[in-house]
């Protein structure tokens, strides 16, 4: 099985003492990995280091065998990501935003843009300015921008933030469909344990910057999470 992500000794410390410390993580192609942790545990820092948005203090990240630091473009090309709030040029429409993104990849057609808009339920809003969108619609656009390049690895940081029930169900369905049809790898961080439990087949608990893993489902994820937090606090 090809490795989608290999993280070795990843450390990033901020001045306030927060960050991540010596994270080692290996994710196979096709896995859906959930990252769980309390606020400030380092989930977003880990995802930013995985996508080159932040440089780590130590350690390395390999995406599909390409080192992120030394071979950035090859490593990041098969990756789609939504990290933090959805990023968009708000005085433009979602279609124009996606068109601009498509110029940076080869082979993205008009149909691919339409498909990404359709998957996220934005087809009827495609020519409206993003500035008029609600938070949930902006989040839908963020997900569309992560899907547009048909990536082999999709990294989503709190993707359900601001989504209504329709959006939540659509997101869950889209992730399950893409994963089963195309074998795409997902790394998803969320506060919603129940949402991750429905989607993911492996979990990474990030508590006080340290990672631990849970693969089987003999216990409820909530119980395991509480146990891990208590262990870390001792």
């Amino acid at each position: 099985m090809e490795k989608a992500v290999v993280i070795t000794g990843l450390t990033k410390q901020y001045g306030n003492g927060r960050g991540i410390q010596d994270i080692n993580l290996s994710i196979d192609q096709g896995e859906i990995v959930g990252i769980l942790g309390p606020n400030g545990a380092g989930k977003t820092t880990l995802l930013k280091c995985m996508t080159g948005l932040t440089s780590p203090d130590q350690g390395s990240v390999e995406l599909f065998g390409a080192d992120l630091q030394s071979n950035f473009k090859n490593a990041i090309t098969p990756v789609g990501a939504l990290i933090g709030p959805a990023v968009a040029y708000e005085n433009m429409s979602p279609y124009k935003n996606l068109k601009m993104i498509s110029r940076l990849y080869s082979g993205i057609t008009h149909e691919d843009i339409e498909q990404a808009l359709c998957l996220t339920g934005l087809t009827s809003y495609k020519d409206e300015k993003i500035s008029s969108f609600s938070m949930g619609m902006k989040q839908r656009f963020g997900i569309a921008s992560a899907l547009i390049s048909k990536p082999r690895l999709i990294i989503l940081d709190e993707p359900t933030n601001g989504l209504d029930i329709d959006g939540l169900l659509l997101l869950r369905k889209t992730i399950q469909e893409i994963s089963s049809k195309s074998g795409v790898t997902f790394v998803i961080s969320s506060h919603h344990i129940s949402e991750l439990e429905k989607l993911c087949n492996r979990f990474c608990f990030l508590i006080q910057g340290q990672a631990s893993f849970y693969e089987t489902r003999n216990q409820s994820l909530e119980d395991v999470y509480i146990m891990k937090v208590e262990e870390a606090c001792r």
């Binding site: 932040t54 789609g80 990023v87 040029y89 005085n91 601009m100």
Partner: protein, 245 residues
């Protein structure tokens, strides 16, 4: 498509969506036409004593020393400081930091060149229509003056981009740039020895290309422009490369 070219198109598209860009392009076309109408057909009869070329170069000066630098400050603040504030500066896309930096700077350069060429075209057409003394032989010299004016503008762009990466607030960035530019314009009156050290001095260097060309002076100026561009570009890229999302 080449990544720098593709992202330059994206950056140009972003800038073209802004009202200030449309306004500058419109001004580049309309101001020469209005000036020619005023000078030749209305009350400004005293101006008629001025040769056509002088009016054309006054129009070029207006853009090169005032409107285009102001636009550069707005554009660089928007593409760097503004995007940093809005969180759109760094994204997970297959483009290196150097390519991203170069394409943003190129977009500002391409748009300022477009403004200069639009102004030149408007000047030439309105001169041909309204000026009785217009001669077609002056077209080449006029085009040359507009094109060489672009080189010091690129240096000012690199300077503005460097500043926009140092300052984290858009309002502060643009006000600092305007104040520094005004200081650069007026400080030579107090300290004449600083004149040739300031990039703003060279904005009207097209004058050097008209009439008797001093090659020594041209080489000195080109060397200054290249080295100051390299300095501003390098510091700007260094700052940009250290940025984290």
């Amino acid at each position: 498509m080449n990544t720098i070219l593709a992202n330059s198109l994206n950056e140009i598209q972003k800038l073209l969506a802004k009202k200030v860009t449309k306004l500058l392009l419109f001004s580049a076309v309309i101001i020469p036409v209005l000036t020619k109408i005023l000078v030749n057909n209305l009350f400004l009869t005293d101006w008629m004593a001025l040769p056509t070329e002088n009016i054309n170069f006054t129009l070029l000066d207006l853009f090169v020393t005032m409107l285009i630098p102001l636009y550069i400050f707005i554009a660089s603040t928007d593409l760097f400081t503004g995007e940093g504030e809005r969180g759109t500066l760094l994204q997970v896309r297959p483009i290196s930091r150097l390519e991203l930096f170069v394409s943003k700077l190129s977009a500002i350069g391409i748009l300022t060149l477009t403004v200069l060429l639009a102004e030149w075209l408007s000047v030439i057409i309105s001169s041909a229509i309204f000026d009785n003394t217009f001669e077609f032989s002056s077209v080449t010299a006029s085009l040359g003056a507009f094109i060489v004016s672009w080189f010091p503008i690129i240096v000012i762009s690199a300077f503005a981009v460097m500043l926009s990466l140092v300052i984290r607030s858009s309002v502060l960035a643009i006000s600092t740039m305007i104040v520094l530019y005004l200081i650069m314009m007026f400080i030579p009156y107090l300290l004449p020895s600083t004149l040739y050290l300031l990039p703003s001095t060279y904005l009207d260097w097209y004058m050097q290309w008209l009439g008797d060309v001093s090659f020594r002076w041209i080489i000195q100026t080109v060397t200054y422009l290249c080295s100051s561009f390299t300095l501003f570009f390098s510091i700007g890229y260094y700052m940009f490369n250290r940025k984290e999302a």
